[in-house]
Each structure stands twice: as C-alpha cells, then as structure tokens.
Amino acid sequence: MRHIINVEVENNAGVLARIAGLFSARGFNIESLSVADTESKEISRMTLVVRGDDAIIEQVNKQLNKLIDVIRVVDVTKNYYVERELALVRVNCPPNKRGEVQQINEIFGAKVVDISPKSMTMEMVGSEAKVEAFLETMRPFGIKEAARTGPIAMLRESKKIG
C-alpha cells in the first residue's frame, strides 16, 4: 500500500540526512521525499511517500518518531486528505501540434510556462495519479524532459468533506 507520511522536524542541520539514513539503514523504500520550511522557521515539513505492508509502515512510523529531531509523524493516508504534486513537463511540439497539446492542457488544468518553435513546457498541479495520467497522455508527443516535486499532503479539516 502507498502511504503519504508527513513528518514535522526541528529545522536542525543534518536532519534530512538523519531521515534519509534511517530509511537506508532499515531497508525502507522511499518513493519520494519533499522538504521545506513550514509557517515556522524552526520547523520543517517533510513529506514522504512510502510503500509497504502494515508491519513495515508501523515500523516506519515508530522509527521516525524515535528520532530526537522529529516532532510529529502523521500518516495522512489513514484519513481524508488532499494531495498535490507539481510537475514541469516539456514535450516536443512543432507549431502545428500546439492546438492539440493545448486541448490536453485544458482537460488537466495544466498551464503553459514556456514555448519554443520545437517544444512546449507546462506546469501541472494535481495528485500524483493525475500527474501520471497527464504524463501518459503527453507521451505520444514525445516528452523531452519532466521534473516532479513528489507529493505534499494535508489532512482535511473536516472529515465529512470527502
């Protein structure tokens, strides 16, 4: 099962290495990892995407909590949550194809951020699954380059909104 785990950490030097080191030492697989400050300068938030059965995820959770610099660990996938990932995607696109690409962009809500005689570059925001669907749809044009942030996620404030 795929889990998105939010980890709030003290913004101390080396804290990223601690988390990465924990995953390699314990043999857990990280699919993606994104790190940035939160509303507070003292606290960073890391979003990890991890795959594993319940036993592995339980260990991931506990081992993260055991690190002295870790303030809070939340497995958002255990609850209702919102998830977003940003991707920059450059596809082969001669002028005669621009309309076609633009049509797909509209469907996915992607925005053009750069254009050249040979290519178009889009920014696309959505869940990891949606980003993947967008890449899949663009693949026939020829993807020249793609960069992805990995997902970040938050619990929904009200569980009723699904």
């Binding site: 290495a17 080191g21 055991k66 002295i68 303030i71």
Partner: protein, 578 residues
C-alpha cells in the same frame, strides 16, 4: 565579558554539574583546550592507551554503576577510534556521552588535518549526536546530551565541538533542567493495557517471563522477583538480562536462545503466555522466528515502541518504563500457583542440565564454576566475545543485576578488559574479573598499562585455546572442519590446508607469553594447564594486589553446548558431542 566561560570551561563545568564520577579519554590537537582545563580541574580523568578502550571503559563504568559514562577524544582518528565503542553501547542501550574535538568551524569540510565528519559517521550508531556550531548553544546541547543518553531507552550521545567553539566565550549558563519538545519518552504504561496483562496472567497455565537488558537499565530487579513469586512464573533472561533474577532461584530457567539452557528453550516453546520484559526478540534469542513460542500469547513490555512488533507479532504491547509498568501490574494482579507447570520444568531441569565432560584437561566450564564458588557470585564479571563469554553466561550463576558486563548486541571482541577497568573504577568495593579468550584479550591488551598505572586491580582470566574458538566451532560443525584462519598459531610455516587435528604438523609456538607480557607491564601473571591447579592458581591470583593475568590452557576442541543452529527453532538443539 563578565562571568563568561570558554567552551572548554563549559564542558568541564557540565561534567561537574552532572556529577560525573569518571571520565576516560585521550588528548589530541583539536581537544587540547579541554585537556588544558582538565589539567587543574577537579574531575577524575583516566588516560587510556587507545580511544576505543576509553569508550569501552566509559561503557563498563555505566553498566556497573547505572550512571552515564563519559569519553573525551580528539577529532579525526581520535573520533573514529571510538566508533566501535559507540556502536557497542548503542546496541546494548548504554548511556555514554562522547565529547570529541573537531577542526575549527571555518575549516570544516576542507579535508583539514585530522578532520572527520564524525557526526555523519556516528549518526546510525548513536541515540543522537550534535555538531556544536556556536559556543552559545553549547550549554544547552551538553545538558540535552546527558538527558537524552540517560532517559527513555538509554544510549550513547556524541557532541562534536570545534576547536574555536572550545576557545570562544559565552555568558549562557548551564541549564538546570531541559525540555525537548520533540523527545518525550513514555514512562507510565497504559492502565488499560496493564489490566489486560493481569487478565492474561490469570488465564495462563504455563507462563514464562522473558527478561532482557531493559529491566536492568530500568532497575526493576525487585519487581521481577515479586512478580515471579506472586504469580509463580519461571524466569528466563537474555544475555543482557543476566543477574536481574537470581539464577540460584528454583524459578530461574537461566539464559534462553542459541546457547541457552535446554529447559529455558523448552519452556519458551511450550508456554501459553510469554511475558517479554525489556527484551527485543533478537535473532540469537528466537531462533527461527516463525516457530518461536508457537503456543504462546505474547505480552511485550518495553519503553521503546520500535521494538514492539519489530520481529514477532505481539498480542498485548505495553509501552512504558519496565519498573513503572511492573509496579502497577503487581498492584492489580492476582496471586497464582502453577504446580503442574513447575513440575514439568523441574523434570526438564533434571533431564537436561548444563553439563560438560571431564577429559583430564582444564575444562573452561569448570573454571567458571570454580570462580563463581570462590567469589560467592559477588564479583562483577566482564567478558570478551566468543566461547568463553557463553561458558561464563551458562556456568556462573548470576544473582544480582549489573554484575555481568558483556557486549551482547554488537559482539565486540576487546570489550571486556577496558569495560572491567571502567567497572572497577565505578565499584572499587568489588572484585572485578574479565573472562577473556586469547583472541579477544589481544584486541585491547594495551590497557594493561592503564590498569597498572592507576592501580586498577582487575583480574583477567584468559581461556587460551590458541584459537578464535567460536568461529572455529562453527567451522567444525557446519563447514566440514575447514579451519580457515581461526588458529592463532597460524604462521608462514603452516601447511596450506590444516585439519586442526592434534597431529597436525605445525610448530607448537604461541605468542604472546601472557605471563611474561603481564610482567613486562609490571603486573602479575599466572599460568596453569592441569585441572587440579585451577583453584590454587585462582587463589593466588585473587589474593595478589593490582591487575593480574591468569592464563589457563584449554582444549581447542571444547565447544559450547547446547546450541541451536542459526535459523533452527529453539527446541531443535544440539545438546552436546555425540
């Protein structure tokens, strides 16, 4: 700046505020400022001959006393030399504080002379570590280091202090107490869970207590004893738990696991309730984990939630300090008797006792038993790692916690002698003995200088089988007697292939001569090779003041039994030679 202290002074001040009873270490260029302050400070400092030994000594001090051990070394090689010591302490959850010098902050990352990224290197073998970036954060970090090392599940903490931080001045005082928002160990167990444990005990008819090192660090010997008595539960301990429950008690099953007693392993395999207390289901304990305690519901009490369900499925976890949890359990649990179960255990004990065969040579097991008798189980026993360690664990009946010091988790050869030195400093009232193999003792033998010069009267008993016996045992049993490089007489005159048999055409030449070596260090050395000489030799050794080496020549074919082969279930033991 008025009332300002240098970083080096702050380190000394912290050691005094924390009432550290002994500091072990070795000087060097990047820590010279701290040593300069030690020159005139009122801090009991012990100079070893190798940084690794300083770290093991701090560890031994901590295990024997229950107080944190402190080691101070320089940067680079001084710091990397304590890596094994830190890993040893980490695996066995021992509170050690390591303070290392570091090159000045402006040189960090420059491959400066004696620079090593020790914080990076030790990240996975310390409970936590710090690189001090400015002198103003030093007081808080030092306080945090002591707090983190000694609270929750204890462990080593390293503080890396750049030279310019040691020299800079600060007016920030050393804190009296500390709060770390991201670190709050659970002490009290959940009352609801503890209630369920009491119910499990009420239901069970064949319970076993399986007790590990966590009970020792929590100081729960009394509670374990009371629980065993009140509910009539037999007790087996891990290597790390030896002494937490008196092995002379009829309810003691002694040690379980790979080299545990037959009756402990049978009891675990047959029990219907296994209460794990401060233990972590190590592979040396469980054998084939899928077949471990197959008939039992498992209760697991531990302060570290990560140990729970790491290796085995547990029906009832209780996270909390062992002593606190057991105290609460004892308040509510009903007394019980298990006559049938205790009868069964008595029968196993009668049918499958620990034993060895006499063959006219010195039997190491007999030496251990003789030592135990002579010291009335009151000594502190350190061991190195290997066969002698297991014989000691098996044949010395430990009756008190903190009297058996051994590298259980990491299995560090060379641990015992410096650890014994640290233990003797912590407990000057006790006889301290290091049980050693001829391989292990050579890994930190230079500390004889430390022992002699500080007059630390550790008695080292060397079981000399001229081999790396435990690996040799495996080669004999599972590798078709291909004794690759486990003979410590191996030399350039040896044939390419050696069968290790008595008539092997190898020169009978062994180095060093441990007696002469002891004498070279101005210590005393004794040697014996006949069984009847064991007791008189030990009597001489124990009555000789100062550090003593005692060498017993033993048979290299002598193996450790019983043995559960790696990967086999606990009840499939090899009980001895056919």
């Amino acid at each position: 700046m008025k009332n300002a202290m240098t970083g080096a002074e702050m380190i000394i001040h912290a050691l005094q505020q924390e009432k550290v009873g002994a500091v072990f270490g070795y000087p060097g260029g990047s820590i010279i400022d701290v040593f300069d302050k030690l020159y005139s400070a009122d801090v009991p400092f012990f100079l070893t001959r190798h940084e690794q030994a300083a770290c093991h000594a701090a560890d031994g001090y901590a295990r024997a006393s229950g107080k944190p051990g402190v080691v101070i070394t320089t940067s680079g090689p001084g710091a990397t030399n304590i890596v094994t010591g830190l890993a040893t302490a980490y695996m066995d959850s021992i509170p050690v504080i390591a303070i290392t010098g570091q090159v000045p902050t402006h040189l960090i990352g420059n491959d400066a002379f004696q620079e090593a990224d020790i914080v990076g290197i030790t990240r996975s073998i310390t409970k936590h570590n710090f690189l001090v970036q400015s002198v103003d954060e030093l007081p808080r970090i030092l306080k945090a280091a002591f707090y983190i090392a000694t609270s929750g599940r204890p462990g080593p903490v390293l503080v890396d202090v750049p030279k310019n931080v040691q020299q800079a001045r600060t007016t920030v005082p050393y804190p009296e107490s500390i709060e770390i928002r991201s670190y709050k160990p659970t002490v009290q167990g959940h009352p609801q869970q503890i209630k369920k444990v009491a119910e499990e005990i009420k239901r069970a008819s064949r319970p076993v207590l399986y007790v590990g090192g966590g009970a020792v660090s929590s100081g729960a010997a009394e509670e374990i004893r009371e629980l065993a008595e009140k509910c009539d539960i037999p007790v087996t301990t891990t290597l790390m738990g030896l002494g937490i429950f008196p092995e002379t008690d009829e309810r003691s099953l002694k040690m379980l696991g790979m080299h545990g007693t037959v009756y402990a392993n049978y009891a675990v395999q047959e029990c219907d309730l296994l209460i794990a207390v401060g233990a972590r289901f190590d592979d040396r304990v469980t054998g084939k984990v899928e077949k471990f305690a197959p008939k039992a519901e498992i209760v697991h009490i531990d302060i570290d939630p990560t140990t729970i369900r790491k290796n085995v499925q547990v029906k009832l976890p209780v996270v909390g300090d062992v002593k606190a949890v057991l105290a609460e359990l004892l308040r509510i649990v009903e007394p019980k008797k298990h006559r049938e179960w205790m009868e069964q255990i008595k029968e196993w004990k009668k049918n499958y006792p620990l034993y060895y065969r006499e063959n006219g040579k010195i039997q190491p097991q007999m030496v251990v038993q003789t030592v135990a008798e002579m010291v009335k189980h009151e000594a502190i026993i350190a061991t190195e790692v290997g066969q002698h360690q297991m014989w000691t664990a098996q044949f010395y009946d430990f009756v008190e916690p903190r009297t058996f010091l051994s590298s259980g988790g990491l299995g560090t050869m060379g641990y015992g002698f410096p650890a014994a030195i640290g233990a003797q400093i912590a407990r000057p009232d006790k006889l301290v003995i290091d049980m050693a193999g001829d391989g292990s003792i050579q890994m930190n033998i230079q500390e004889l200088a430390t022992a002699v010069l500080y007059n630390i009267p550790v008695k080292v008993i060397i079981f000399n089988n001229q081999s790396l016996g435990m690996v040799r045992q495996w080669q004999g049993m599972f590798y078709n007697r291909r004794f690759s490089n486990t003979c410590l007489r191996k030399s350039k005159f040896c044939p390419k292939v050696c069968t290790g048999l008595e008539n092997a055409p190898c020169p009978d030449f062994y180095v060093p001569d441990f007696v002469k070596l002891a004498e070279a260090y101005s210590a005393h050395g004794f040697y014996a090779e006949k069984p009847e000489d064991v007791r008189p030799t030990l009597e001489k050794a124990f009555s000789t003041p100062g550090p003593v080496f005692v060498e017993f020549k033993i048979d290299k074919e002598e193996n450790v039994y019983p043995m559960v082969p790696a990967g086999a279930p606990l009840n499939e033991m090899i009980r001895g030679m056919a």
